[in-house]
Symmetry: C2
Subunit: 344 residues, 2 copies
């Protein structure tokens, strides 16, 4: 069999502000691969099925000379992120053709085929017959993030009658986890469509933060005992203003700050002291060893039984990666954004 | 015996910005008290010896209609804070004349004599023969604050080789507690004199933040695993910039913000996420039940043996209260500020 096209998404230049499709990220078809004869050297040859698009990718598009916990992408190399692939050929005892493997946490390049030299990947049994994309969302990094951090930081402190405020609620399953734990859930989202969806999940209060003042909602429905922060800025400021004594803030991200040199700076951090608030900044990678086994043993079943619902935004074709990332960063997508690279 | 003068410090009006001596706080000698015949009704008559001056007093000089955890002082009434008093007459079985009592946490008015109707005060045995003012500083609220919060938030997480950065270090014993726990201690203070004192306590790095850039010191001596924040603003921003992964920030106060309507707003809160930082805002009142017994059993002895050193700034006379508070807020005092109301 002759070599086939091996399309890739190249990280072409460091963006200022929002990344520009076709400029920051460029789709490239110049490479080919011989699927039958490509040497494996103890590794596996995989065909990539789905790849995840997440806001934090923007954080890796920085000048590499700026010190950062997240290493910067290298200009000229493919973008990388979590994905699911299927094994075509294997030279490794743990993997066989037809296996489906999950590469969590940014180690799969955005290209159609590749050899993985030292595979250390989770093999997905998928007895529940979920779509592969579900393993990038509700059963992948976003699901782990919500599940692990909610267990770690809220779990031991939940009391009857507690109230949680969840931002970017259509993109996280935290609202559902909190509801299952008996809390009153206040949820914000960035469009009426998202608000309708969040409301359909059974939260107590859902609102469109672009139309309704977060301050006014929290003043009426708070004070809040827990705050799940995905956005930072003015939402965080409002949460500080209407926090209950000893409130717990789980700081998952500050997406409102990622694409601007002049982020909104919170003015009332002093409330931390007066209200005895704890901020827990975290990266889910640190929580994996503690909670992953329980997660993979329970979450696919909860999803298959419909106890935990989720939304996906599937984008077909590697060539649409740039636009998909921009949509995520601008909040234009609805549901977990996934690039469908190939059907099985 | 005829009535004697009973001088008081009246909270006269709500300040904007810094309080103004003689305007915000007014010394008043219009009242008298008959020490032999003042009715006790089951209470005790005390003579006030020493009263504490603390930055947080400014936080209680707000419009009472603004919701606040700390209830606002009432205009026209005496200022209140912790103090030590001696019992002159008692109508209560737990107290006898000559006892010394400590009123912690803002329940003693700034006046020479008063009847306390339902006394629930700690009787100071003072076997170590410390000065009474020591029970307002190193063995009082500031000491409890440092001891209790350091134990609660740093204690379980300290690892060999850890580094702590302590702000306003001449006014807290945290640097000494951290040094005793084996940490490398970086300490900032606001004058060369204070820096010399802090250095004499055996800290590893001491600097005057008004002359030397905190960022540069932390860049060279960090990254920091713990941060003791008394000031907020630019110090907090520098600490975020040079925090180690999973650093613990103990947020005790943000004195740089108390007297201004335009506080410096931290620009890099995102580091909370990338560095997995925890902020622990706290009020020491919540930690008293857990740590007070141990504190009073050990700290006076450590102080008497010279293991823990402290500095006091004694101000003689109730009439100097307004200036003493202003000095504390401007950072012009050196050592724990105490008003000496009366000698024994």
């Amino acid at each position: 069999m002759s070599p086939v096209k091996n399309g890739r998404v190249i990280y072409n230049e460091i963006p200022t502000g929002y990344p520009v499709p076709g400029k920051t990220l460029v789709y490239d078809e110049s490479q080919t691969i011989d699927l039958e004869n490509e040497p494996l050297n103890g590794g596996i040859l995989v065909k990539v099925l789905v790849l995840s698009i997440d806001p934090y990718l923007r954080r890796k598009m920085l000048d590499p000379s700026i010190p950062s916990f997240l290493p910067a992408f290298k200009v000229g190399e493919p973008l990388e992120n979590s994905g699911v692939a299927t094994v075509l050929r294997s030279d490794h005892p743990n993997y066989k053709p037809g296996d489906h493997v999950l590469t969590s946490f940014r180690d799969l390049p955005f290209q159609e085929y590749l050899v993985i030299p030292n595979p250390q990947l989770r093999i997905l049994e998928n007895k529940e017959n979920l779509s592969w994309s579900a393993y990038l969302g509700v059963c992948g990094m976003p699901g782990q993030t919500a599940h692990h951090a909610w267990k770690e930081y809220a779990g031991p402190k939940i009391k009857k009658g507690d109230v949680v405020f969840v931002t970017a609620a259509s993109g996280t399953i935290v609202a559902q986890l909190a509801k299952a734990d008996g809390l009153k859930v206040i949820a914000s989202a960035g469009s009426d469509e998202k608000v309708d969806y969040v409301r359909s999940l059974g939260v107590d209060v859902a609102f469109n933060y672009k139309k309704v003042s977060t301050r006014e909602v929290l003043q009426k429905e708070g004070p809040i005992n827990f705050y799940w922060d995905n956005v930072g800025g003015e939402s965080l400021e409002a949460a500080l203003e209407f926090a209950a004594q000893k409130a717990v803030f789980i700081i998952c991200g500050m997406i409102s700050n990622y694409n601007t040199d002049e982020p909104y700076n919170v003015k009332n951090l002093q409330q931390l002291v007066w209200r005895e608030i704890t901020f827990n900044g975290f990266l889910v990678a640190s929580l994996l060893p503690k909670y992953d086994d329980e997660f993979y043993a329970t979450m696919p079943g909860r999803v298959a039984r419909g106890e935990i619902k989720y939304k996906e935004h599937l984008v077909k074709g590697l060539e649409n990666t740039g636009q998909a990332l921009l949509d995520v960063l601008r909040g234009n997508n609805f549901g977990k954004s996934v690039i469908v690279v190939s059907e099985e």
